[in-house]
């Protein structure tokens, strides 16, 4: 199967050139987390008197980055529904294209865009005075990329299973809000009642945010780090595999 690598590269190049022509949309994608950093983080700082704002930002930014990873990538499937409707996937299905490459080329593109967005957010955080641990930051961008892979795999899988924009947006809406609230992105989960703290433990994104905070603090031996990497990697493998098999089913 040497074609998988070659065709993934071809699809990736095609999609990246496409994004490069319209770089506005990925920039829009970081607008919301940016506003949170500018307007919500100062509020949060007021709630914790005595803690410098740069410190609050260090707690807050990892959550924002996971939010981009999740929300930026969860919606990529809508593009694939368009491609089903316009017959693009049907045309690829009757060509000798490697099936996994159709999905992989797109997920790798999503991951690259995500890393660029993350770097922009970090740059803004640095300007605002945040000073994260550098090895921690590097590791966290890796974790974020894996989280993005999970989300885009899930999104393509859903798109290929549902093939309907309405159904897909309903499902995403349904899951997005509780996932975010149970991550402790906006407010620390330690403020939550006991039952929510227990439920949050079952949310893999909660562990990713916890790991992000530990990494930014330079706490590289924190137990949440291997736990979240392991969880997200396993989930990413499952969702990408799901979307690849769905593509195989669609394209014979």
């Amino acid at each position: 199967m040497p074609n998988v690598v070659k065709h993934t590269a071809l699809f990736l190049g095609y999609e990246l050139r496409n994004t490069a022509r319209n770089p506005v949309w990925p920039l829009f994608g970081i607008l919301q987390p940016l506003l949170y950093m500018l307007m919500f983080a100062p509020l949060l700082a007021k709630l914790t008197p005595g803690v410098p704002e740069a410190e609050t930002l260090k707690q807050f930014t990892p959550g924002m980055m996971i939010m981009i990873a999740l929300f930026g990538s969860l919606f990529v499937g809508f593009g694939m529904i368009m491609e089903i409707r316009s017959g693009v996937l049907e045309r690829l299905a009757v060509s000798p294209v490697s099936r996994p490459a159709i999905v992989l080329g797109r997920t790798v593109r999503d991951m690259i865009i995500l890393v660029v967005q993350a770097l922009l957010i970090v740059a803004i955080g640095l300007l605002m005075g945040m000073r994260p641990s550098l090895p921690g930051l590097a590791a966290f961008i890796g974790l974020m990329a894996v989280t993005g892979l999970f989300a885009s795999g899930l999104s393509y899988g859903l798109a290929l299973a549902l093939r309907d924009e309405n159904g897909m947006s309903q499902i995403l809406q349904f899951f997005a809000l509780p996932l975010i609230l149970l991550t402790g992105i906006l407010l620390p989960i330690s403020l939550a009642p006991q039952w929510m703290q227990v439920v949050a433990k079952f949310n893999p994104l909660y562990h990713a945010v916890e790991a992000g905070r530990a990494l930014f603090d330079g706490n590289l031996s924190d137990g949440s780090i291997p736990l979240s990497f392991g969880l997200m990697a396993a989930l990413a493998v499952i969702t990408v595999w799901w979307s690849v098999t769905s593509m195989r089913r669609l394209a014979g």
């Binding site: 071809l10 017959g87 049907e90 045309r91 299905a93 009757v94 060509s95 000798p96």
Partner: protein, 331 residues
């Protein structure tokens, strides 16, 4: 032979609240397409044309039956077939976010062409389909005709020996249709075999070397457009008859066509008469010479002719002859 299919069948199973329902979309089709010819599959919507095309292009697996396409077995060697065909669906498959050039380049590369070779073919396609001017404009900004041309170029960019065209001119205006026909005819000159589905009679007549007329998932007639029409008759006289008296009661008026058709069926030159309300279609060979005699018989029988027309028989007459319905009425 580029396509040889035997007993192709496709049954779709749908599940809903009412339980399981099976639809026999294609009920057993034998098809042979010679290398280099344009072969048409003509039929009304829902006749099984698209399902047949989708099976032969490896998109869906047949429920039963066998076929060899471009020299390979449909079931066992789908990959080899995919390397040798182009497929243009009704939806077209043009990426709306990207220009024709980028679309074509990707299609060429994933079909195995090297970078330089692909660039060369893309340029040739852009020129051949008159797309150079807006080669880099996103697909969504193109007109219907332009987008169709991109779609067909996408099916041809890797020079496949066999091209599938599923209703290529549906939704196009007459000008674009005529241009597209010319481009499809050019393919024949280059030796590309084409399997084309259509529900337009004139399209099948104008483009196809041979065609199969399908209805309800089976082939009802097959041959060249000329032989198919000759089988029915070369000419058709369309008559509107009456008693000539506007005050005649309706039941008398209604019985007139059947009497006239009996009268005409008795004539030696008549091959077939079909009545539809007060309109009679009389099939005959050599209409020009038979018409004076026909008029005389009607005059002697006291039949009043309200209108009369002599036309060449069309593929619709073939469809009518084989199925008892007009293709225009069959949905």
């Amino acid at each position: 032979m580029i396509i040889a299919a035997e007993g192709l069948k496709k049954t779709f199973t749908t599940r809903n609240r009412k339980g399981t329902q099976t639809v026999e979309a294609v009920k057993g089709i034998d098809l042979s397409v010679e290398t280099g010819e344009i072969f048409g599959v003509l039929g009304p919507n829902g006749a099984g044309k698209t399902t047949t095309m989708r099976m032969l292009s490896t998109l869906i697996a047949p429920t039963s039956g066998t076929a060899r396409v471009a020299g390979h077995d449909l079931i066992k060697e789908a990959y080899q077939i995919r390397r040798r065909i182009g497929y243009v669906s009704q939806a077209g498959g043009v990426d709306d976010n990207n220009g024709a050039r980028a679309n074509l380049m990707l299609a060429a590369r994933v079909n195995g062409l090297g970078r330089a070779q692909a660039a060369e073919r893309v340029d040739a396609m852009l020129t051949a389909f008159d797309l150079t001017e807006f080669a880099d404009r996103p697909g969504r900004t193109l007109s219907g005709g332009q987008k169709r041309r991109v779609a067909i170029a996408l099916g041809l960019v890797h020079q496949p020996p066999l091209l599938f065209l599923d209703e290529p001119t549906t939704g196009l205006d007459p000008q674009n249709r005529a241009n597209l026909w010319d481009q499809i005819r050019l393919l024949r000159r280059e030796g590309t075999s084409v399997l084309l589905s259509t529900h337009y009679l004139d399209e099948a007549d104008a483009l196809c070397d041979r065609l199969a007329i399908v209805d309800h998932g089976v082939i009802v007639a097959e041959g060249t457009p000329a032989t198919l029409k000759r089988e029915v008759a070369s000419d058709v006289v369309t008559l509107r008859v009456g008693t000539g008296d506007a005050t005649t009661p309706a039941d008398v008026t209604e019985s007139v066509p059947s009497e006239v058709s009996k009268l005409l069926e008795a004539q030696p030159y008549t091959k077939e008469v079909r009545a539809d309300g007060d309109v009679l279609r009389v099939y005959l060979d050599d209409g020009e010479h038979a018409l004076p005699g026909l008029l005389r018989v009607l005059a002697e029988g006291g039949v009043v002719i309200r209108s009369i027309a002599l036309d060449r028989a069309t593929l619709d007459d073939v469809f009518l002859h084989k199925t008892g319905r007009s293709l225009r009425d069959a949905a």
